[in-house]
């Protein structure tokens, strides 16, 4: 087995091999399986060692700022600002790469770690260098834990990284990927959010400034370090540059994870997945905390600005296609029940409110009598009343469902439903599963 050698790579800004074209993260490769270290280095080259020079840190972070990289975990927070905040925090920082992917319908983080673990690890190690951390933790979904372990072991043998890299398995709960919940999981084994203040960028794991970054964001970071800001901006839109990974599922020919420039029409993202497998009535965009949109939104750009008109956003990069014949209310009710059971159970309005709301939606979906005024009141009482944004996301998704499926709602109130297939287009795990 050939051991790879980590060689110093390009200085950022120097155009290297790949042009601005896609794919960037999910490279076409012969054979399945994860990229080996040797393969990774052959394709991308090594990380520029200048990244670890203290005086170059601010330059690098500025370059990331110019690139306009934002978090790919759903919140789209500017990465350069986060790096700078953690680097300036009191104490020695620590980096946590978030690959838990608690969203059951999303697969992009698992796919990225399974195919290009070294890109993610490059990004984690680079982020450590940029913030002055000596430790990088990768919290990976259980399904890809072994692959990440092997990649870390490869790097250790080749002595690639000047910082210590550790791997942990994520908790497998929906809220476990929230930043404070992740820190709580790593530190105490309890995957529930904690109260803010203090912000984890100042006081996180072990009381130290903590950088929590989605694994896809770190992979982009690793490429920006090699190819520079201008290269990164050659895809996407001027306001939302770069590419992103999107999980496409539901009624499409080839459900899977695809990389797309930000801002291309939703319909062309669906086309990458082979296009609709049936006439579509609606799409769920962003995840189970995202928003429903009707099929007219397929013409909209897949970007925050583009989807804003439809009350949606790319979120964690997910498009679920609902075919005609599926009942959007039934799917929504199933998701709402899932979100209710996934509440951390720490805050009353979330714990009781989501449960009540899910029960009401269940009644609506089943054509039983339901009280729309009470449902709206509950949605208003739950929104923004928790310690984290779990209830907010659930409320957003449900409100969008009531908007998009308004006609369906009226039919259900009279005891009718357009659905011809049982609910289950969107996967909802039972409690026992990971």
């Amino acid at each position: 087995m050939n051991t790879a050698e980590c060689r110093p790579g390009l200085v950022p800004g120097e155009a290297g091999q790949s042009a601005g074209g896609l794919p960037r993260l999910l490279a076409e490769r012969r054979g399945g399986g994860p990229a080996t270290l040797a393969g990774h280095l052959a394709r991308h080259g090594g990380l520029p060692t200048a990244a670890w020079e203290r005086r170059r840190r601010e330059q690098f972070i500025a370059e990331v700022g110019r690139a306009g990289l934002t978090g790919r975990g759903g919140a789209a927070f500017p990465t350069a600002r986060k790096l700078a905040a953690v680097a300036a925090g009191p104490g020695r920082p620590v980096v946590i790469a978030n690959g838990t992917e608690g969203e059951p319908a999303s697969a992009k983080d698992k796919v990225l770690l399974a195919r290009e673990p070294h890109l993610v690890l490059d990004g984690a190690v680079l982020a450590a260098g940029l913030t002055g951390a000596r430790q990088a933790l990768v919290v990976a979904h259980g399904a890809v834990r072994e692959i990440v372990d092997e990649a870390v072991a490869e790097r250790r043998r080749a002595r690639c990284d000047p910082v210590q890299v550790q791997v942990l398995t994520g908790a497998g709960r929906f809220v476990a990927g929230e930043a404070t919940a992740l820190v709580n999981w790593v530190e105490h084994g309890i995957p529930v959010p904690t109260r803010v203040p203090p912000r984890i960028s100042e006081h996180g794991l072990g009381g130290r400034p903590t950088l929590v970054q989605n694994v896809e964001t770190l992979a982009h970071l690793a490429l920006i370090a090699r190819h520079g800001a201008a290269w990164f901006r050659s895809a996407g839109t001027p306001e939302e540059p770069g590419s992103m990974l999107v999980t496409v599922l539901g009624a499409v020919q080839r459900p899977g994870v695809y990389e797309t420039g930000i801002g291309v029409p939703v319909s062309s993202v669906l086309a990458r997945a082979g296009g609709p497998a049936a006439p579509l009535t609606a799409l769920l965009i962003g995840g189970y905390s995202g928003s429903w949109v009707d099929q007219a939104a397929m013409a909209l750009p897949f970007s925050a600005a583009g989807l804003h008109r439809a009350g949606a956003s790319p979120g964690a990069g997910l498009i679920a296609a609902l075919p005609a014949g599926a009942c959007g209310l039934a799917e929504t009710a199933r998701i709402a029940r899932y979100l209710a059971t996934e509440s951390a159970g720490q805050c009353g309005p979330c714990l009781f409110g989501l449960d009540s709301i899910a029960a009401e939606l269940g009644a609506l979906a089943a054509g039983h009598p339901f009280d729309p005024g009470r449902l709206r009141r509950w949605l208003g009482q739950v929104d923004g009343r928790g310690a984290c944004h779990h209830p907010d996301g659930a409320v957003r998704m449900i409100r969008s469902a009531l908007r998009v499926f308004a006609a369906e709602t009226a039919r259900h109130a009279r005891g009718w439903c357009c659905g011809t297939r049982p609910a289950g287009v969107l996967p909802v795990p039972s409690r026992a599963g990971p």
């Binding site: 159970g345 720490q346 009353g348 714990l351 009781f352």
Partner: protein, 181 residues
């Protein structure tokens, strides 16, 4: 003040103190469970619990002082806080001392609750469930007055009230959010 007066005062204050502390415990349970007479606001129950507890502290000072100053029996000032320091009815007095020590901890932590934090405050507050039985048994064994019917009535009444409240708390979960705290 005659020695008989000190004697009566110490015993009398002790009896009232037992009734008062029992009321404090019952109100404490009511604060926790939200069980209260319908028209009583919850904050009134909480405040009454606190006010009576502070009053009990004052009455306790009187009870302890008169008992120790009474020349008829030798208890000694050390027995205020040190168990087994009283030559007179050592065990019985020690139970009273225990109640004072534990009650003192509850008092002090309650006065600095904000600074201490909820968790630590709560952990110490549980000692009240140890302090009260100590006080009850102290009352039954340190005095000679159980023969008097109304003394026995107060003792039994206090015991019944507290036991009922505690049992109600253990068996009932009257509020859906009870497990959140």
């Amino acid at each position: 003040m005659g020695t008989a007066d000190l004697w009566f005062l110490s015993r009398g204050s002790g009896l009232v103190l037992l009734a008062l502390c029992s009321a404090v415990v019952v109100l404490g349970v009511a604060t926790r469970t939200g069980a209260a007479p319908r028209r009583w606001p919850r904050f009134a129950v909480a405040e009454l619990h606190r006010t009576l507890a502070l009053f009990a502290v004052a009455l306790l000072a009187l009870h302890v002082m008169t008992a120790i100053l009474d020349p008829f029996v030798t208890i000694g000032w050390a027995a205020t806080v040190l168990p087994f320091a009283s030559p007179y009815r050592t065990v019985a007095i020690s139970l009273g001392t225990l109640a004072v020590d534990l009650g003192g901890a509850v008092l002090v932590t309650s006065l600095v609750r904000r600074r201490l934090g909820q968790r630590a405050w709560r952990a110490v507050h549980w000692l009240a469930y140890l302090a009260w039985p100590a006080a009850l048994v102290h009352g039954l064994t340190a005095g000679n007055d159980l023969g008097i019917w109304w003394v026995a009535l107060v003792e039994i009444g206090s015991a019944v009230a507290v036991t009922t409240a505690v049992l109600a708390r253990l068996t009932g979960r009257s509020r859906p959010a009870a497990h959140l705290s």
